[in-house]
């Protein structure tokens, strides 16, 4: 069975549901602390996830302190070797601060997740938004390879989730887009609220050059099951939730499951 490692930093708070999503997708998932470097080094995984939360209490800047930890040297090495790496929310912030994403020159900081930009609001925002994969990303990214191209609703919850790039990098970054925010029918968003934070190019998830590393701001592990979908949500997933009977609801996959199922599909073989 393929192995996935979830890296817990001080302040991570989504490690258990992330590990559960991986396990329930047929993977052998284990949580490692940020200082379990030797243990992890001796037991390399097939894939790594940096979960959401507030690593090091977001001190200085979200994700920056974690990005300097020694365990990130190992993650860096595994990323360069082509292993699938996923950063969710705070994990995505760590990946950008590490220079792994967009990663034109690995180790150089070439993107930022800046403070939300929404009309009349600042700071922490949360809710449900719709995401759509870029067609090239379905072919290249192990975390998106099972997606059909249809939009999926996923929760988001962050204060610093606005993807920002240098003006001169705007064209180059387009080939790195994994997921974009969209309207419920999949059309491009007309700003807030479909794009909840003012993210450049409506980016919700960004890949590295090789496509094996994905920095994703929304939380797929929080919509792994259908019961996690709010019954009043618009669109087909909301309809499915409303029409589902309570019996057996706990086992039915939700829209976020596809991210973890993609990894299982990519790793293939003994994931049954």
């Amino acid at each position: 069975m393929s192995r996935a490692a979830v890296i817990r930093f001080p302040g991570s708070n989504c490690e258990f549901e992330t590990a559960r999503a991986l396990k329930n997708s047929g993977l052998n998932a284990r949580i490692y602390n940020w200082n379990d470097i030797e243990l992890l080094s001796d037991n390399r995984a097939d894939a790594y996830v940096l979960p959401g939360g507030f690593s090091f209490q977001d001190r200085i800047r979200a994700g920056v302190v974690a990005s300097r930890e020694s365990i990130m040297d190992l993650i860096f090495e595994e990323a360069v070797n082509g292993k699938p790496i996923l950063g969710i929310c705070n994990g995505a912030q760590v990946l950008l601060e590490s220079g792994l994403v967009p990663g034109w020159k690995p180790g150089s900081v070439q993107g930022a997740l800046a403070g939300n930009l929404a009309p009349g609001r600042s700071g922490y925002l949360s809710g449900w938004i719709n995401l759509k994969p870029a067609s090239e990303a379905i072919e290249r990214c192990p975390w998106l390879c099972a997606m059909s191209g249809e939009p999926i609703p996923v929760p988001f919850a962050h204060a610093e989730g606005r993807f920002v790039f240098r003006k001169e990098d705007t064209e180059s970054v387009k080939s790195h887009i994994g997921l974009t925010y969209c309207e419920v029918d999949g059309s491009a968003p007309d700003g807030y609220p479909a794009n909840p934070n003012g993210s450049a190019l409506d980016v919700a998830a960004l890949m590295n050059v090789d496509g094996n590393v994905l920095a994703m701001m929304p939380h797929p592990e929080r919509s792994f099951y259908l019961w996690q979908v709010p019954p009043d949500l618009k669109g087909p997933w909301g309809d499915m939730r409303r029409n589902s009977s309570l019996k057996g609801l706990e086992d039915q996959p939700g829209p976020g499951a596809i991210i973890f199922k993609s990894l299982a599909k990519y790793l293939g073989g003994n994931n049954g």
């Binding site: 200085i60 302190v65 403070g115 009349g120």
Partner: protein
């Protein structure tokens, strides 16, 4: 129009500064700062009342200064800032976002509440305390290098893609 600056700091040791200094120690620099101070820096542009207006609004909003845990002052008054060890040579770097919706929203809020504020700008001020006899130009260069995160192994305090830095005092 008056420009009035307010510096705010914690009465207790600032956990952000403690974490930052520990992270710097792990970087094994040749000449690391010996101490680090962190301040919230608010720059107000007020149409009347100058410091009196700013004192009033600072006393009004605990989101700017929470008197239970923070204290504040007008930083121009002092050659070294409040709370700093005068035996060290200090250099300050202010970090601010290129696009700062929080400052814009605060400006709107203060206007709506009737304060004569034309604009405000929020920054985080990091003050690096180096050995007293260190060359001044060198301390400025070291503080700047430490402040901008061009690489994972490099600076710490600002992401150059979304933030800007400036020397302060």
């Amino acid at each position: 129009m008056d420009r009035v600056k307010v510096a705010v700091y914690l009465k207790t040791p600032d956990p952000q500064a403690v974490t930052a200094l520990n992270t710097i120690k792990a970087m094994r620099l040749l000449l690391p700062p010996l101490k680090l101070q962190r301040y919230d820096l608010w720059e107000f542009e007020v149409s009347r009342g100058g410091r009196n207006t700013v004192s009033e609004l600072v006393g009004h909003f605990s989101d700017i200064v929470n008197p239970n845990k923070q204290t504040w002052f007008f930083p121009e008054e002092d050659s070294s800032l409040a709370g700093e060890d005068t035996e060290l040579q200090w250099v300050g770097i202010a970090v601010r976002d290129h696009v700062d919706s929080a400052s814009e929203n605060w400006t709107e809020l203060l206007k709506r509440r009737g304060f004569p504020v034309e604009s405000l700008r929020y920054s985080v001020l990091w003050r690096f305390g180096y050995l007293k006899d260190t060359d001044e130009a060198l301390t400025k260069k070291m503080a700047l290098d430490l402040s901008v995160s061009h690489t994972r192994a490099g600076g710490l305090f600002s992401n150059p893609v979304s933030q800007e830095v400036s020397f302060w005092i």
